[in-house]
Symmetry: C2
Subunit: 428 residues, 2 copies
């Protein structure tokens, strides 16, 4: 019987320091739950000499990540540097040496997850990645284990705290995207280059991981239909409110008849939906299974301690398996022969806003084009009356198919009464 579990960290930023703090401050509790202590044996950092808020024994620090990978005493390598290389090489190297892996690297998993998991399977080691999606929310474990008896029908979620923070501020304070972004950057809630978050790319990476677990479907993040929130105007948030909707950046995956729709875009959702209330930097995931019905998980989607909590939970799961020889599988098997649905074929409700010349016959022209393309109208708002001026014409449609909508919009764009690029937001 092993007398302790030995961990090596690669990377000591936000998540790394949270992980270290938890392993240090809750050491007694963790030992009482596992039966043996978990010790941090090495931490690979970029600059050994740098001043840190956390006290770490000098002997633990190294600036050579390979020392962590090669240390024969280390049982679990925790990769927290992010990005493609050198992270991938270090992880594969550690697997080759029989080490278990914990990682929060969603980009790497989304792009090379299958390769990493196959290598781990061959070697009989585990790959834990709870920290890659939803911070402290245990969505990976819930999908993989708690809902294992279910055929998953859909996974919905708010998976990017930065975008949700910005949209929440825009909604509550009626401010513009650019305005709130600058404030979020000053407050440290958004990066200097926010594209990864507000462009929906981070959300798509996380969704690719969830889709793999939920549906056994491997999808390249680049192949996921992705729209960010940069073009969202407070005007549309406001019209949405009038219809009883709130705007959220949603990750959506739904199964119908063996096809899975996978998409990331700003979405209007009904006020009564539990996810509509998820504000600020919180994340939430709603999962519908054929047996369990709908389940929602809600919590802090990022941050040093919540994400560290997920990393340490993985370390503890792996430790239990090390202490009790024989591993439990850590990735779901495919749930059948599912393929991904083309975006063209996806059906949705749509919110449309046209800036039009305020003259008789405009609504008739536009609704004519929609009708011809199989799109029927649920309700219309025409705001202001300034004959000859420019007014917004807002239309909420019944369910329509994406390719019909694209064809209709192309035609509507050509109408002389339509003055700006139409705005389209999907409604769930």
């Amino acid at each position: 019987m092993k007398e302790e579990i030995s961990v090596g960290l690669i990377g000591f930023g936000t998540v790394g320091s949270g992980t270290f703090r938890i392993l240090r401050d809750n050491a007694e509790l963790i030992q009482s739950r596992l039966g043996v202590p978990v010790k941090v044996r090495k931490i690979a950092v970029r600059h050994i000499g740098r001043r840190r808020e956390i006290q770490v024994p000098a002997a633990v620090l190294t600036d050579k990540a390979e020392e962590v990978v090669n240390d024969p005493e280390i049982d679990v390598v925790v990769e927290l540097i992010g990005g493609d290389e050198p992270a991938k090489g270090l992880i594969l190297g550690a697997i080759a040496r029989g080490k278990h892996i914990v990682t929060a690297n969603k980009g790497l998993l989304a792009a090379h997850g299958s390769e990493i998991v196959s290598a781990a399977r061959r070697k009989g080691v585990a790959v834990g990645f709870e920290a890659s999606v939803g911070g402290g929310i245990p969505v990976i474990k819930v999908l993989k284990e708690a809902l294992a008896a279910n055929r998953i029908l859909s996974v919905y979620g708010i998976l990017n705290g930065t975008s949700n923070y910005i949209l929440t501020k825009m909604t509550d304070e009626g401010r513009s995207f650019d305005d709130v972004l600058v404030e979020a950057q000053r407050a440290g809630y958004a990066e200097a280059d926010p594209t990864f978050d507000v462009g929906g790319i981070d959300t798509a990476h996380k969704l690719a991981i969830l889709v793999n677990l939920a549906f056994g479907l491997t999808i390249e993040p680049n192949a996921i239909f992705t729209e960010g929130i940069t073009v969202i105007s407070p005007l549309d948030i406001d019209f949405g409110k009038q219809f009883g909707y709130r705007l959220k950046l949603l990750a959506i995956a739904k199964q119908h008849n063996g096809r899975v729709e996978v998409r990331v875009h700003p979405t209007m959702i009904p006020n009564e939906s539990p996810i509509a209330k998820v504000g600020g930097a919180y994340n939430a995931v709603q999962i519908v299974g054929d047996a369990c019905g709908d389940i929602m998980l809600y919590g802090k989607g990022a941050g040093s301690m919540p994400t560290g909590s997920a990393v340490v939970a993985d370390i503890m799961d792996i430790s239990r398996a090390i202490l009790n020889p024989g591993m439990q599988p850590l990735l779901a098997a495919p749930s059948g022969n599912l393929t991904s649905q083309e975006m063209d074929e996806v059906a949705s409700l749509y919110y449309l806003r046209f800036m039009v010349v305020d003259q008789p016959g405009v609504l008739s022209q536009i609704s004519g084009v929609l009708g011809k393309n199989n799109i029927s109208i649920e309700s219309v708002i025409q705001r202001g009356r300034a004959l000859g001026g420019v007014v917004p014409l807002v239309i909420m449609t019944h369910e329509a198919v994406e390719k019909d909508m694209r064809r209709a919009l192309a035609e509507i764009r050509g109408l002389s009464c339509v003055l700006e690029q139409p705005v389209l937001i999907r409604v769930e």
Copy 2:
């Protein structure tokens, strides 16, 4: 390597039939996830000949529960008859024969959980009880595994669907408890004898289980301070709304300085709280950990398929452990030397309603008694003006201690201007 996992069910009511359906309908998916099939080998029922909605091969049915316990081929015994005996004897008998246990029997676990778990530990078998709390919501797994790195600070929840259904109807439609109860009984949402649900007893059983996992504290359900919803008046729900609160039957466990408050009672919670929005037959649990922060789990708290989903998840977890020799511990170790807090010492905000004679000086008398007992007033509503008549006087207090409140109320009851039993509802 075993070629299949063999399961025996004892009890074939709501949860048993859901479990059977899932194992049958999702057999292929479950096999693909585990590597081997899970087969139901025996089902013990009360009346073999009874007509059933589900087709079950006659050879599988027996009216002798001992046949399930004694069958050498059965790996996992699923106890779904509820109650104390014979359930307890059957479970202990199955453990003695080296079988793993899955049970949804919250009453039995709350009263005899330690004895059952100790017997299982000695024999090296697992006891799965995800289905005992929260139906399809994986609160047991989340507390035990996903949040294993956290010192749990509090667990809050709506754990009884019947009470929540009744309170939701009373709130939305302004109807009385008795009125809604009769309707709920007709619709099958409440039992003919609803005491167990609306009296808070079911909630207390579930809370005892969660407290054991979260805090390593064994508490008898009878020792939990428990108030039900039978005395709730629509008047108080309505006054609560005016203060921005919603009324819910909450299970509450909070840790402060090594003491754990454990209580079940109707509670006013702020409208903005995520739990305030949980309506109808849904359950929700909010958990605060020192690392993960606050997490909420939400879903269907009862029903054949959601609870069956939890039962089959436990069967699959146990199957993985059977297939990979070596067991993982299935109960949390204590998180320190915690003791439970006396209700007398619990501090809370309070909503108070007095039916008083409408005459000058009444507020001053009542507030005088409160003040003398260290209770300060946050706000007051005096509704109606009918000099000499009877009017409600509603007071929201700042934080006060239970024993001070009891002393003050005893004194206020004695005032001649107070005409009815005062109403006290705690606020979180």
